[in-house]
């Protein structure tokens, strides 16, 4: 029984960790290239979820899964162009405050448009079934979520590794000035990079909507663990963010078995311990973002 309980919570932790990873990777991309802490990232997750909710009746769950993230990314692109672009090169304080205010507006806006009550998103019936009686907690949908996250993460790393855009993003993260001097349109690069980050937020919104239902406040709860995933993994390192997200997900899952009240606090303790022993996080490099 104990092992099953433990297994249940580790699985839970991995699934919630997968959300943290998607969120944190998007945040990390934007942070690394543009030096912007996007406080509105949770808001974009909510937008993605509500878009899925709105279009599901017309094109079904699968259509929404495919269409909602790019739509969210387009909204993100517009926001970047109009509001965030003027702030590049200024003290990071300003982009932080702006996205902070934006998060307020998105939360209140969704409440205004869709109402404060939670909204369910219907998922295909075969995904809602548990896979087996012993492991009742592994529904098809949870497995499906993990697979989607894995595919998305793999595609992101392939994009960064092999495409021209990806190479430029990585180069810009290391030395944006040189990249600009080589004649690459840095403004465009930042916009596309921002859009990729928001795409990931939108995707996690759709997935979260199917699992948890939708609420205007759901993004806020996921934002802080994503921050910690980045800090634990080491700012500037995307693989670090990936490991960090899974690590804190599992850690809070396991803690929930033994000491439920501390399941939120434990990730902060982990962060403190890691900052004490490795000030730059697990995979942070000397000289990056010091």
């Amino acid at each position: 029984m104990m092992t099953q309980l433990l297994l249940f919570n580790v699985t839970n932790g991995l699934i919630i960790g997968a959300f943290y990873v998607l969120m944190a990777l998007g945040l990390s991309l934007i942070l690394n290239l543009s030096n912007v802490i996007n406080f509105a990232h949770g808001g974009f997750l909510v937008i993605g979820g509500y878009i899925a909710y709105t279009i599901t009746p017309y094109i079904g769950f699968w259509g929404a899964l495919l269409l909602a993230p790019p739509l969210t990314a387009i909204i993100g692109l517009a926001v970047e162009r109009v509001l965030i672009r003027p702030l590049y090169g200024r003290d990071p304080l300003y982009s932080l405050l702006l996205t902070f205010g934006l998060a307020f507006m998105i939360e209140d806006g969704t409440r205004f448009i869709w109402g404060p009550q939670g909204k369910p998103v219907t998922i295909p019936a075969f995904l809602a079934q548990p896979l087996s009686n012993d492991l009742f907690f592994i529904t098809g949908y949870r497995l499906f979520m993990v697979v989607v996250v894995m595919i998305a993460v793999a595609l992101l790393f392939l994009l960064l590794r092999y495409t021209r855009l990806g190479v430029r993003i990585r180069a810009g993260t290391l030395d944006l000035e040189t990249v600009a001097a080589l004649g690459i349109n840095v403004g465009m690069l930042r916009s596309l990079n921002f859009a990729v980050g928001i795409f990931l937020a939108g995707l996690s919104g759709v997935l979260a909507a199917g699992q948890l239902g939708l609420e205007p406040t759901m993004g806020t709860g996921l934002l802080m663990p994503s921050f910690i995933a980045i800090i634990v993994g080491g700012i500037g390192s995307l693989p670090g963010t990936l490991i960090g997200g899974l690590l804190i997900g599992v850690a809070s899952g396991v803690t929930a078995v033994f000491f439920p009240a501390a399941s939120e606090a434990v990730i902060y303790v982990m962060m403190a311990v890691i900052l004490l022993t490795r000030p730059r996080g697990l995979f942070g490099e000397e000289g990056m973002m010091s």
Partner: protein
């Protein structure tokens, strides 16, 4: 130079006269004394944050934690330890300041966005503690069951509990004390060094200034001031709220400082005044006040990045 000095003195005198007479001119303008008290306390908090943000140039986005710790420190003291208002204030200040000193050691070597992120995340630790430890803190409902106590001055008792005006003047006295100390520190060689670090960290380092230690001291001092402001806030409401520790509260404080003018000593007080009055008004006329506060953030960042004072000073020059 002489004219500049006189102008400064006049402004300073105007600020203090306005503060001293606030209970009398606020009521005709549609305000109320309790609102003035809140402005004063939140203004002190914004000035404490700006001590670090504006004068040392270090962005802490988790300062609400030390504000909230001050509130809980004062509340718990009044509830469980002693029925003494001054003691509660000291306890709140110590709790906020000491926690800041310890965490400051962990984060002081970070800069820029990294510093901001780590301060946010550590600030949330205290939020979760206040939220989860219900047996002590009252959890989500907040800490209740205490109230500020009359102050015994030997010759007579100052009834700050039932008289709104006496309480306002008591808070003003505390405010003047804290602001006086803050001004004194900023004029001292240490304060000048803080500004030097803000202007050019690398050059300060080359001059042999121990930059990390100075930032740590500035961070800790600002947390002490913050704890003091938080303790006063607990007395204002006779209540301590876990949401007072949340990072969204930190965002409000940063906003007050930026909106008023980060580079000026009194700017954050002006920012806090505008922010508190506006929020008070908006939440009374619309349920969507959050959108308007968010919009205010966006507009200030895009159009008034130097704050109201910075805007006025530039347009005059």
């Amino acid at each position: 130079m002489k004219a500049e000095h006189t102008r400064k003195l006049i402004v300073l005198a105007a600020i203090w006269v306005a503060l001293l007479l606030a209970p009398y001119w606020m009521a005709p303008l549609g305000g109320y004394t309790a609102l003035a008290t809140r402005v004063l306390v939140l203004g002190l908090a914004a000035m404490s944050l700006n001590f670090l943000l504006g004068f040392t140039g270090v962005l802490s986005f988790g300062h609400a934690a030390y504000f909230g710790l001050g509130a809980y420190g004062a509340g718990l003291t009044l509830k469980f330890l002693a029925l003494s208002t001054p003691l509660a204030l000291v306890a709140g200040m110590l709790l906020g300041g000491l926690c800041g000193a310890i965490l400051g050691l962990l984060i002081v070597r970070r800069r820029g966005v990294y510093f901001a992120m780590v301060t946010i995340a550590f600030g949330q630790v205290f939020y979760y503690i206040a939220f989860q430890w219900s047996s002590l803190t009252g959890g989500d409902d907040g800490l209740r069951g205490f109230s500020r106590q009359p102050i015994d001055l030997g010759a007579f008792k100052l009834d700050i509990l039932s008289s709104a005006n006496s309480f306002y003047y008591f808070v003003l006295f505390c405010f003047a004390l804290a602001v006086g100390v803050m001004g004194f520190i900023l004029r001292s060689p240490f304060g000048r060094t803080m500004i030097a670090i803000r202007e050019n960290e690398r050059r300060s380092r080359f001059l042999g200034i121990p930059v990390e230690r100075h930032i740590w001291i500035a961070f800790t001092l600002s947390c002490f001031f913050m704890g003091f402001a938080g303790a006063l806030y607990a007395l204002v409401n006779n209540f301590a709220d876990p949401r007072g520790l949340h990072y969204s509260q930190s965002g409000d404080f940063v906003m007050m400082a930026v909106m008023g003018g980060m580079r000026s000593f009194w700017g954050p007080l002006l920012g806090a005044t505008v922010f508190v009055v506006l929020q008070d008004y908006l939440s009374s006329v619309t349920v969507n006040w959050m959108s308007f506060v968010g919009l205010l953030f966006v507009l200030v960042v895009l159009f008034f990045p130097r704050g109201l004072l910075g805007f006025f000073q530039r347009s005059k020059a």
